[in-house]
């Protein structure tokens, strides 16, 4: 960490110190890689999709040449993690590692599966996941040290997404159990994906449409503030499954007695209660952050705006909202990340979404099916967080130097 100070040391024996300096986080990451390479199975082989499997170490999972190349690359990256100080070098090393092990695990699936066996399943095992974690940590640390601006972070995210898309489209992972689960459900996968996004984004949009005016109103009318925030906080404390349950009765009643509601697809179970529950959970962050954002606009700024003859509307549009925007967007970021995760639970009441695969997988003890639902959910939340953080930074005009 203190690489800079070592440059200023006096000549003599001290000049050797920079060469001996080990990166602390890098050492932990290298240790992780060692553990993954030499003490953990790289893939798991199962005779069919639900029996328990046996681990295969890297040398059994790849042809000798492939295993050697993989080991050489991992060791090289580990060396970089420990010794290299320049963030760009560390980032390049981490990316190289990821670019080797991701195709390798796909190739391994084809190598381990006996020819012509349609039932055998190969999944990434703990060794692979540890390596992926180690490289990801190294990359994340390097990106943090690079102090990328908002645009830089968006570009980095696009590159990562592009690489992942390329990997999936290339068919390199076609023999992995995860992709076999996908291949069996390609149609329903995209249908549930659309449903998941609709639940998460739709409820967020609805919460913005309702929450922004509510936040504005409670900023203007202090009497409204306490009641509204307390009410919404109580909603927030209800566990999601309980909230779905609470909504089943009134929506079921509505569907049974109001033909229009039934025609719109509103029923006691399904997407409607899930959407409404997500919407209710979303209200508190949107309302609270809109209010907090408006409240933190400095009083002398408002006073000056009034004194210069800005109308209420001009003050709101030109001064208050632009200054509150980063805080409001932070609320929307909370909502989006929360909704992308919570939408998984909707599957429990027939609401669809990626949760469908998670709960089917749990029911069938088919862990790869669980992953088929869980991985896209995590990836979406991760991407949403990065994108919104970047947007928030871009809207903080004048708050700090952006160069």
């Amino acid at each position: 960490m203190n690489t800079i100070s070592s440059r200023t040391t006096a000549p003599g024996m001290h000049t050797l110190r920079p060469h001996l300096h080990l990166d602390r986080l890098g050492s932990v990451i290298a240790g992780l890689m060692g553990l993954a390479l030499f003490a953990s199975p790289f893939v798991t082989y199962r005779a069919n999709r639900i029996v328990s499997g046996e681990g295969r170490m890297l040398f059994d999972a790849l042809p000798p040449a492939g295993a050697l190349i993989t080991i050489a690359v991992v060791l090289g990256v580990a060396l970089c993690a420990v010794l290299a100080h320049r963030p760009l070098v560390r980032l390049a090393a981490a990316s190289l590692g990821l670019c080797v092990i991701f195709p390798a695990v796909g190739f391994s699936a084809g190598f381990v599966t006996p020819a012509g066996n349609g039932f055998a399943r190969v999944s990434p095992a703990i060794g692979f996941w540890l390596l992926a974690l180690a490289f990801a940590l190294l990359a994340a640390d390097a990106l943090t040290r690079l102090r990328l601006g908002p645009w830089g972070r968006l570009v980095a995210l696009s590159i990562a997404a592009g690489a992942l898309t390329l990997l999936l489209l290339s068919g390199a992972w076609g023999d992995l159990s995860l992709m076999k689960e996908y291949a069996n459900r390609a149609d329903s996968f995209w249908r549930e994906a659309r449903q998941h996004l609709w639940l998460a984004f739709g409820s967020m949009l609805a919460a913005c449409l309702v929450g922004l005016p509510l936040g504005l109103a409670s900023h203007r009318v202090p009497a409204l503030r306490a009641a509204l925030l307390q009410g919404l906080s109580i909603v927030q404390t209800i566990p999601s499954i309980a909230l779905f349950g609470i909504l089943i009765a009134p929506l079921g009643f509505l569907a049974a007695n109001v033909p229009l509601a039934a025609a719109l697809g509103i029923r006691g179970i399904g997407a409607a209660p899930a959407f409404i529950a997500l919407f209710l959970y979303s209200l508190l962050p949107v309302v609270a952050n809109t209010m907090a954002g408006l409240c933190q606009v400095p009083a002398d700024v408002i006073e000056a705006a009034r004194g210069m003859g800005m109308s209420r509307r001009q003050r709101l549009v030109q001064i208050e909202l632009p200054l509150a925007l980063p805080v409001i967007l932070a609320g929307i970021r909370i909502v989006l990340v929360q909704n992308l995760g919570l939408a998984t639970i909707a599957a429990l009441i027939g609401g669809g979404g990626f949760g469908t695969f998670v709960f089917q997988g749990i029911g069938q003890t088919a862990i790869d099916l669980v992953l088929l639902g869980a991985i896209p959910t995590v990836a979406l939340s991760f991407a949403a967080a990065i994108i919104l953080d970047a947007v928030i930074d871009l809207t903080r005009r004048g708050a700090h130097d952006r160069d």
Binding site: V301, E303, A304, R306, M308, I319, L323, R397, G398, H400
Partner: protein, 312 residues
Amino acid sequence: MIEIEHLSKRFGESIVVDDVSFTVGEGEIAVVVGTSGAGKSTLLRMINRLVVPDAGRVLIDGQDTATIPEDELRHRIGYVIQGYGLFPHRTVAENIATVPRLLGWDRRRIAARVEELLDLFQLDPGEFAQKFPHQLSGGQQQRVGVARALAAKPALLLMDEPFGALDPVIRGKAQDDLLAIQRRLGTTIVLVTHDMNEAFHLGSRIAVMDQARLVQYAKPADLLTHPAEAFVEQLVGTAERPFRLLSLASVQDAMEPGSAEGDPITVSATLREALAQLIWRGRSALPVADAAGAPIGRISVDGILKHGRSLA
């Protein structure tokens, strides 16, 4: 000309401004002083109707301000507050352009006006126009605040403790700059402060407020020689009185014919500055020079004391 007629305001039970009347002439600086809570700021904020008076009225050049729509009235009156209230998300140029933009000036006229004001306030447009407020020092922020208030060429400028956030060194310079700009533009100013030095330095007239009432409204010298109430004497400070009087008179007023040894004092300096020089340099008299540096007479300790006694 600003005519304030019988202005009153109460907030709940407490009366904040009680039947205050005074007139500020064209191009004058009226300074409102008083203890905190005396109602100074409320009085100021009733002039641009940020506070609506309960009774009384304000006339600007004979026009009752209550007959002008509020926003339009405020477009015509510059307003500077202690924290300046610069818009943090807008650049210096955008901040200064606020009122011209509200008035719908065309782009070229706004740009020219912004540049003109930055020059006037000794802020290099190339360096400062695109900066954000947080990148400026306190003194620069203050200048931008005043420049913004003057952008649409208001005939009247209201200032509420405009130098309160500055350290003493910068404050003196900022006050001199304001005086110079005011003389150049001829803007009428109503300024609120609790700093008596500032009041005597800037004011062509001083309004003393105590517990919501206007106790005295007079020229600075009259305030010293003919205080209306014990409160005014107390506020002015009896020990300070002779020195304040000397600071209101210039070397011109006590200059004698003849010459003296030493570095000359300029004729525009105040008698207080001249006396300070005489004491510090251990002389009983010093030569006086005009603005060009030519000797035109002498100033002596005895002469200053004599003049001081005649003022009191």
